[in-house]
Amino acid sequence: MVWRLLTGDCVDAGRGLAVDEVLARNAGSGVSPTTLRLYTYRPHVALVGRFQDVAHEVHLPFCEQHGIQVNRRPTGGGAILMGPNQLGVALVLPGRGEVLKWRARELMIRFSRGLVQGLGGLGIRASFRGKNDLEVGGRKIAGLGIYRDSSGGLLFHGSLLVDLDVELMSRVLKTPFERVTDKELATVARRTSSVRKVLGTSVTMEDVRSCIAAGFGEAFEVGLEPGELAASERDAIDILDREKYQTPGWVFQRTQVPDTSGAATLQTPAGLLDVRVALAGRMIKTVCIRGDFFADEGAIADVEGRLRWHSSEPAAVAATVRGCASLDEESLDQASLIQAIVSATANAGEPYGCFVTPQPEAHP
């Protein structure tokens, strides 16, 4: 079997998303072939998850001031910053035959296998974690999402961090901290991974793209043939971009699920523990664990990653934290961490207005 391979760079936010959605819809109705698309966005774009509230996730004045396009993905998950150093991965499948029988779990496993295999070709050992992350040593290196179109077509979205400008990200995307300090930036940098960081080399985007393409070919046992969009696809993309992705009705839509945030501090034998959480209804969207304790950053990043898009029920939180084998009891005991996270979620109720408002003038 042969799939079409599409590549592109410097893509606008709306058009990039419109291409993926049209291909998924067309694949579902049998008009477009199964396609793997590996592309980068223009510098830069901020993309929120399907149901997120843009104003809660993105610092809009900063984006406007710096020409950063903001849009909404059809797939779920959290807000991301994309640009020349983040590889967008879109796989569209018809969702018929055998694929129709695969359930969400199997679909995500198969999709992530393509990325894991591709990263393996670069010498990076990544694994699937939680709802939609690929991690290396506990640190997130890629975000994943699945969308099933009404035609039955399936769209798998991935964003692979080839490199990451942590400072820019912290000024574009909101975090549950009052101020973005150098210490905070350093913590985020230590808890996030990227291809170049892991390899310690300046591998090119082209090399990464080639390896990821090869990984999907191996994982799905298919050949990949470089191709172009058909004229009919381009027409449909133009229409969808104009009528959906360029409209405030899509980009700025709101959900009825209330967003809240909460915090808790706890003095532990290892030091002060400071936990901030952001919730969508009763679901944890983000957990940020800080403090003056000494613990492996990869282990803390792993806990944060596993609790992303996770139930806030205390028993579920406790079970997940206890499942993080990398957490060293001597540096930070699980019971204290569970207590702090559960307290922070219990305290949640403050609206997102307390979230950080980065200072654009401080940005170089």
């Binding site: 149901f51 779990r105 699945i146 699920v257 209804g281 009763r282 898009w309």
Partner: protein, 148 residues
């Protein structure tokens, strides 16, 4: 290997084989109440967001009556019957985890005035067919779990 998840599949309603939505025909109101069954929820995971079509929207069987974001994917909610959306469950819009906690009662999604209940019901699983269908679905779920 662990034991099968304790799926609760009430026999008082009909089920969409592929999308795992249930349809309950209320003779008194002559409306069909729609929700997600427990096998579908096992596969989706916990629901973070639900959006439903507005009351008055007309849909064909298989068309979208809404969208949801669950722990494992974002997907449309495919109407198990054709008709007009006559009521949405506001409670699940504000707290989607209600669907996971009480899928057959408080976690219902929409009510539909069916265009032809008898015709669409014939396409769904019900009565004595439920047991064999559930057994096959549980087997498929077990296979997926082993691949995980």
């Amino acid at each position: 290997m662990g034991s099968d998840p304790p799926f609760n599949i009430p026999h008082d309603r009909h089920y969409d084989r592929v999308h795992h939505l249930w349809a309950w025909w209320d003779e008194a109101s002559r409306r069909v109440r729609v929700g997600i069954d427990s096998i579908g929820l096992e596969s989706l995971g916990e629901l973070a967001y639900v959006a439903l079509k507005e009351v008055g929207t007309t849909v064909l069987r298989g068309e979208s009556i809404g969208t949801l974001e669950a722990a494992k994917m974002t997907t449309i909610i495919a109407a198990p019957v054709s008709g007009t959306v006559s009521k949405c469950n506001d409670a699940v819009l504000q707290d989607p985890l209600l669907v996971n906690g009480d899928p057959y009662d408080g976690g219902w999604l929409v009510e539909i005035d069916p265009a032809n209940w008898e015709r669409d019901a014939a396409e769904l699983v019900s009565g004595e067919g439920i047991q064999a269908w559930v057994a096959a679905e549980v087997e498929r779920l077990r296979t997926e779990t082993q691949a995980d």
